[in-house]
Symmetry: C2
Subunit: 336 residues, 2 copies
């Protein structure tokens, strides 16, 4: 593995439409030394997530774009191997926005020590990290589910979707997931306990929803946008709630995706559509982590990881994830 | 006026796109007699409102469509002239969904006695009726405004918009309205106290919003949809709230209005978009009516009515309102 040098994945050019491997540059440099107040982390796991596509654009968003020539942003977990910060010691196991690199310098901001008793290290950037917390607060706080309600989750086998659907089951909801292959659909139903699944690539989503939820839809947790979302919106019940978590179908378009305006549905359904970012719940992260760790230990919450070895494979793996080629939470094993 | 017979405006055909006068049929019939439990109301005022366009379609909505040959639905106010209901006496002043007709039979459901001490009779179907309550609860409850926040209201000189903007000023907000003529813009600023107005027909709304609210937009009360809404959404502040009251720009289209999907804005702004119907607040109507009556008496809340005489002019006036030709709350004076 990439232990002897610092391997870094930089943004080389801003993609137009789908990223290609040429938009990334992989460079080797010497392992850096921390300045006063800094730590050096040897990265073991890197999380790949759809939001990173947005950081590749030079566009207004909730976070600054990655500049050309900068290391790609990303949540990562590893071990402190050098510390000039009073807050961290060599040997501490940490996670934070350490980027696509095998060794990361950090001033410690946004870096937290991982409680390994909760789960394996990589869960700290997965189900017991940002993706899990996104599912937990986005579903429970934004969607305000009630027992017996019908919940639809898009990208249902993905890092966030798989957790949302299982929490919905824990809450006593009926859950339908959409995913992009029959094996993913089978997985969410057979392994995760969703009530049913829809393959949006081979089925007519509207007709399938009519069949699977004739009683209408009370809650929609949206990771994808586009035609799946259109079909759900046409079937909202009164006072339905939509959490807009992601819109991955829209991230890689060269031209805007034109669609009939449908805000009027919100009025006639008295429905609420709310966008959220997990950072808004920062002061409640412990609540979410402890609850999900408990559910995992009780066997109520399972998770699937899609692990690829080697940081050099991160660009290809990331592009594949944007294409839906991943199956579960996408992770890069950077080092041992 | 139309006192000797019962003049009724029926839906003759379902419009495709903009309604025409040929979609309505005006018929004269004898004045009906109430059955046991019914009342007969002589209508004095009829309210014309954008939602009625939706009732002309044979489409799923929050209320049933008007059937072909039925009298058009609408809020109206008048005097009970015959009663076989224990709940009403001859001479009672009432308002309710009495329809586009000069005499209305009713079983009393949804009909309320009007407290004329609050304001002139027609205000019971205007500022102190459904449009006013829509503004009151839609703005205060759905938008949850805070002092100092920037509020944008579309169709700002209309029945609902003019009230929303004034309540926003009472709440200590900065208020920008959009309207379709310079005289309407002048009215909302000079007469109603809005901070500024934008003529969406002659100005670039996005550029004008950049100029009028460089600090961004915290609250949007939307009556129109379409391009005005697009421009507002591009300028939302973090945790902005949008009340989707109406989408009048979309009601009369023969083909769907295609536009770039923009739900992703909600995520990056952590914004909420909520549709609502005033009926959800029925148990709090008295609170709204009393507060608005108080504000009117204190001179804090003004209203403008656009009155047309004669029920026969209702179709033409309604079509004009859908075109933005009205200036203030559109009312038909049916009888004295």
């Amino acid at each position: 593995m990439d232990n002897e040098v610092n391997l870094r994945v930089l943004l080389k050019s801003r993609p137009v439409g789908f990223p290609t491997e040429e938009d990334f540059q992989i460079v080797e440099s010497s392992i850096p030394e921390p300045e006063e107040g800094e730590i050096l982390v040897k990265v073991e796991w890197l999380s790949l997530d759809p939001y990173m596509r947005g950081r590749m654009n030079d566009a207004k968003s909730y976070a600054s774009p990655v500049e050309i020539g900068e290391v790609m942003v990303g949540g990562a977990a590893g071990t402190v191997v050098n510390s000039r910060s009073p807050a961290f010691s060599v040997g501490d196991i940490v996670e934070g926005r350490l980027g696509w690199q095998s060794y990361a310098l950090s001033d410690g901001s946004g870096v937290r020590k991982v409680d390994e008793s909760l789960g394996p290290l990589q869960t700290s950037i997965g189900i017991l990290g940002m993706p899990g917390l996104t599912a937990y607060f986005g579903f429970l706080d934004v969607c305000e589910p009630n027992p017996g309600e019908t919940v639809v989750v898009s990208a249902a086998s993905g890092a966030v979707g798989q957790i949302v659907g299982q929490i919905a089951k824990i809450m006593g909801c009926k859950v339908i997931g959409t995913a992009g292959s029959d094996s993913k659909v089978q997985y969410i139903v057979d392994e995760l306990g969703f009530d049913s699944g829809i393959n949006y690539k081979t089925q007519n989503v509207g007709e399938a929803l009519d069949e699977e939820c004739p009683e209408g839809i009370d809650v929609y947790f949206d990771n994808v946008g586009g035609l799946v979302t259109d079909a759900v919106m046409d079937r909202l019940n009164i006072r339905a709630r939509i959490a807009v978590c992601g819109q991955i179908s829209q991230y890689n378009l060269k031209e805007p995706d034109l669609a009939p305006r449908n805000f009027g549905i919100l009025t006639r359904s008295q429905a609420k559509m709310e966008g959220f970012l997990v950072f808004a719940y920062e002061n409640r992260y412990d609540e979410g982590l402890n609850m999900m760790a408990k559910w995992i230990k009780e066997g109520k919450l399972r998770y699937r990881e899609d692990v690829v070895e080697g940081l050099k494979n991160a660009p290809r793996t990331f592009i594949g994830m944007l294409n839906g080629e991943n199956f579960g939470k996408t992770l890069i094993k950077v080092s041992n």
